[in-house]
Point group: C2
Chain length 394, copies 2
């Protein structure tokens, strides 16, 4: 009657989206201030003033060229600006030809996965992982292979990866700073991954692509280093988005950067362009292509998230919750108070606490708290967290 | 090494895009005014003033909610506004639940095709047809079945369709006003199609979906009627875009409307949402979701295209070219002066005339002229058309 897979995907929306939708309805019911919505990574920090300034200025330009189609890969000047920024910031000679603008990180990932795999291949993800990875891997008709992160530091588990990579492996998706745990992979950890992939490429006689999902690159704490992955492992595609760094998640703007150090960058770029075409993308929204070019080196406002992190982690620590101290992104990964994360999330809901159960991320017994909210929400939520803890302690 | 299909798609871009890219390079070389670029449907009429006004006003709103994620189907108020507009204009009680906002008509089509087909199904297109249909049909792992339009009026050929519909047919894609020929399907013609599809549904015992690609709905001449397809055939998905009506092609904004008269609209909506998810769409760009809601009943500026149509068709008629008089859209479908349309297009290129060969649209021996250009381009191109004609006449 309709496509079975699509019907299933549409009818059983992700737990995150479901909770977000529940939160919107609940807020309408009992008042915004009475729902502690930690469900979604919608930045609470407004876009920098430069975004508005750039948009207002651009809107004074002639409308025909301003709103017209761009080439599929993006406005040439915008691609050049991004390439220059990458070159300046990360010490790699990035060329505009290797930048492909997209409608946000989700499009980057769907496109990149489809570009570098053949049906039947395997794509490795590090659990806990963003649940939509699996959806896009299956759109490319590949198998999602879950490799747990190393516990308790949630770095890459190189031995586990070595065991998981086989003759069908095409790509590994990494995400640092990490959603949902907040870990940032160290240089040493990434170099060990690169060494493994290089050895496995030789052993298996096939390309192994590293897809680096980096929307949280700028959101890090205590000055921690976020190594630039294309410099560490050449066969890297960076999936970047301005959703978090410039607080523009609804505008859908990002890019794929194919490392200039990749020996088959020309082929990969063609496949990326082809995958964009195949999936129905014409070009990234043009006004915001130009906006982000104007704001390319605008600093992200991390201070607000750092303050939230402190407030929440101190508050929860005092109440006796166990969690991973985040090095980046704006998520707190908290141990559920019972083994069944969904059941725990349901009980939290009664206290108006919207926490995403870890099952969505491929692991049991944890919840994710998105602390990209106003500090007031965190402060007002602490008594609810207290009541929830007391309920479990009996 | 990379995905073979995606590499092929990326490496052999559509003839339209190729000609467009050539045109951009050529203009930089010999000056904008010396290239007669009829390659692409990039509106030459600026977006109405209301678009700029709406965008400027919206940018004064708080940035966090303005640029935040919307639900996958779109901002609820925007969906409601579009549903009301459809109800008011077309005499169908359209509900917001049946509106799914997308990143333009291409996303509408890729999503709709994937939603209502299973791999192995057949999807019928009417040749000449927009070449990307085939790409999106193949992404859904279906077969593209070409059924020629009725010549010389380029209406739907009901007998040919009857012969083509079989046990694997899932959907028929129609596009009226038509790209590339400019035909508008009459009410009588659409009613005959509806009767055929209804009979075939009963005969084959399966749903037959009509996917109505309507970006040119508002661009029509001489007050011709464009019947609203969901009222004529209930199992219709409308793929609408504001690219042409509001001259916003680069902003990627449109919607899928699942007819309220469809008995399985709930299932189709779920499959549409699922396909959006599977293909990497998170939500349509939010600023322009709100812009189009503010401009939902803004009239399109057809006068400029009507003037171009007159100028070009009179000019070419006088020179002895054969073409189809367009009833809508902004394309002129012109008989090539030799059987090989690509060879004709190549010879036209020497005169700086960029004409898309009809091979891209699935038929031989014609070219498509996009007359959404400045009248100056048309006027200045006529001597080149004359020289081209003389070259063939010897």
């Amino acid at each position: 009657m309709v496509n079975e897979r699509m019907y299933g995907l549409g009818n059983e929306p992700s737990a995150i989206r479901e909770l977000f939708a529940y939160g919107m309805a609940r807020k309408a019911e009992i008042g915004e201030e009475n729902v502690f919505d930690f469900s979604i990574g919608n930045p609470s920090v407004p876009a920098p003033a430069a975004v508005k300034r750039a948009a207002l200025e651009l809107l004074e330009q002639p409308a025909v060229s301003l709103h017209g189609y761009s080439p599929a890969s993006g406005v040439p000047e915008v691609r050049a600006t991004i390439a220059e920024s990458i070159s300046r910031r990360f010490g790699i000679a990035a060329s505009a030809a290797n930048i492909y603008l997209t409608s946000g990180a989700a499009a980057c990932l769907a496109i990149s996965i489809s570009a570098v795999t053949e049906p039947g291949d395997e794509v490795i993800v590090i659990s806990p992982y963003f649940p939509e990875y699996k959806v896009w891997i299956e759109t490319a008709r590949c198998t999602c292979v879950e490799v747990p992160a190393h516990v308790p530091d949630f770095q890459l588990d190189i031995d586990a990866l070595a065991a998981a990579i086989g003759p069908k492996t095409s790509a590994i998706i990494i995400n640092s700073p990490n959603n949902p745990v907040g870990a940032v992979y160290s240089r040493e950890n990434l170099e060990a991954l690169a060494a493994l992939l290089t050895a496995k490429e030789a052993e298996l006689g096939r390309e192994l692509y590293l897809i680096s999902d980096e929307p949280y690159r700028e959101i890090v704490y205590d000055g921690i280093e976020v190594p630039y992955v294309p410099c560490v492992y050449p066969r890297t595609l960076v999936c970047y988005s301005y959703s978090k760094s410039l607080s523009l998640p609804g505008e859908r703007i990002g890019y794929v950067y194919v490392s200039d150090l990749m020996d088959n960058a020309v082929q990969v770029n063609a496949a990326v362009a082809g995958a964009g075409r195949a999936l129905g993308y014409i070009c990234a929204p043009v006004l915001f292509q130009r906006v982000i070019a104007a704001c390319v080196d605008e600093p992200s406002d991390v201070a607000a998230y750092a303050a939230n992190r402190k407030l929440l982690s101190e508050g929860l620590a005092e109440l006796g919750y166990e969690f991973v101290e985040p090095q980046g992104a704006f998520y707190l990964w908290v141990r559920a108070l019972e083994d069944d994360a969904q059941a725990f999330s349901n009980r939290a809901k009664v206290h108006e606490l919207l926490l995403v159960p870890s099952d969505s991320f491929g692991v049991p017994s944890w919840v994710r708290i998105s602390y990209c909210v106003s500090p007031e929400v965190i402060k007002r939520s602490l008594p609810a967290f207290k009541a929830l803890m007391e309920e479990y302690r009996g």
